[in-house]
Symmetry: C2
Subunit: 206 residues, 2 copies
């Protein structure tokens, strides 16, 4: 792609550094901004800069928060003995949307992934182990995605917890509510049979 302007080329290059955005899309977005009033670009640029420089993570669960302790951790009605371990803040938002969970969270900030150069030291694992060691937490729920990296991370944390008095669980894997059995993959269907639940429980959940 040959550009008639260095300024334009530079802006397109920086936008195309974002994940999932190629050069063509970047050019489309940049030309859109050029057609809008100058304030829109200023609002966008300032919002990104302000977030990046002033972002604060909850000192307890590492969720993004404007206060020292996030709203969830600061809520006295939440069950402090139950901690759900998630990859990032989107998972917190997804679980909060279900209104089915009343415990706290612990945001790891990613998964162990040697391919992407992410090791245990890059994640918030040590603070999690320290929290568990303090002894107030009764159960850890692993809610990482069901991939090689997720399983590795779960297992790594599980090993670190050895000898500590804490129950561990993972979220249930199975056929999604509303899905047809015949279209489910074998691994999921197999797990849903192995980890079947008493019928009374499934009635309670509805």
């Amino acid at each position: 792609m040959e550009f008639s302007s260095k300024l334009l080329e530079n802006a397109v290059y920086e936008v195309s550094q974002l994940p999932g955005i190629g050069k063509r899309t970047a050019l489309r977005l940049v030309l859109h901004l050029l057609k809008q009033p100058e304030e829109q670009t200023e609002l966008l640029a300032n919002a990104l800069l302000k977030l990046r420089t002033e972002v604060n993570f909850c000192k307890n669960c590492f969720n993004i928060s404007d206060t020292e302790l996030c709203e969830i951790c600061a809520n006295p009605k939440r069950d402090e003995t139950l901690v759900c371990v998630v990859e990032d803040i989107r998972d917190v938002m997804a679980i909060e949307n279900t209104s089915q969970y009343n415990g706290l969270y612990h945001v790891l900030g990613g998964k162990i992934s040697p391919m992407e150069g992410v090791g245990p030291q890059d994640l918030n694992i040590i603070p999690l182990i320290s929290k568990v060691r303090e002894g107030h937490i009764k159960e850890l729920i692993f809610a990482l995605s069901s991939t090689m990296e997720g399983d590795t991370t779960n297992f790594y944390i599980f090993r670190q917890l050895e000898g500590m008095n804490v129950a561990t669980s993972t979220i249930a894997r199975g056929i999604a509510v509303g899905d047809e059995l015949e279209y489910a993959d074998e691994v999921t269907l197999g797990r849903s049979i192995l980890n079947r639940v008493p019928f009374e429980n499934s009635i309670k959940a509805n």
Copy 2:
């Protein structure tokens, strides 16, 4: 979507104002930036701000350019009597990529579109008419997209040119090179028959 931080919510909102980017994608992009070094956000924000505030349009053809006259208009080897009328700078880039065109361009900056509130006065039509009136231009090639808005814009300009001594043409519509006839739509196929070209010309083009 409920956010745990106003800063985050604001950044996601501004990113989701871009065309084709929803709230979820915006959140993914913003969280990506948070994981990257602070410099990357600064480079992105500054590139956008710099482009938006310092952008310059060629005073002859309205292409984006860092100089007063763009490289194409300033090139003495280009045929100044031939002007190709296009919607935006992406079309200039696309036509330049073909290496088949040696004339100049005129970038309108959009199409007449009552639905989107774009009238003739919002486009660079008056400077085009003035250029033609000066009398140096022998032919105008309309290369707008083949939509209702494109056709309206072509026709509007065509009417403004009445009585002036300039030839007008539109780029050929037809079956794309390499395409199967049976999959072409009827309108395109019909036009390709009506506007058939002497066989010798098609050999020359290859």
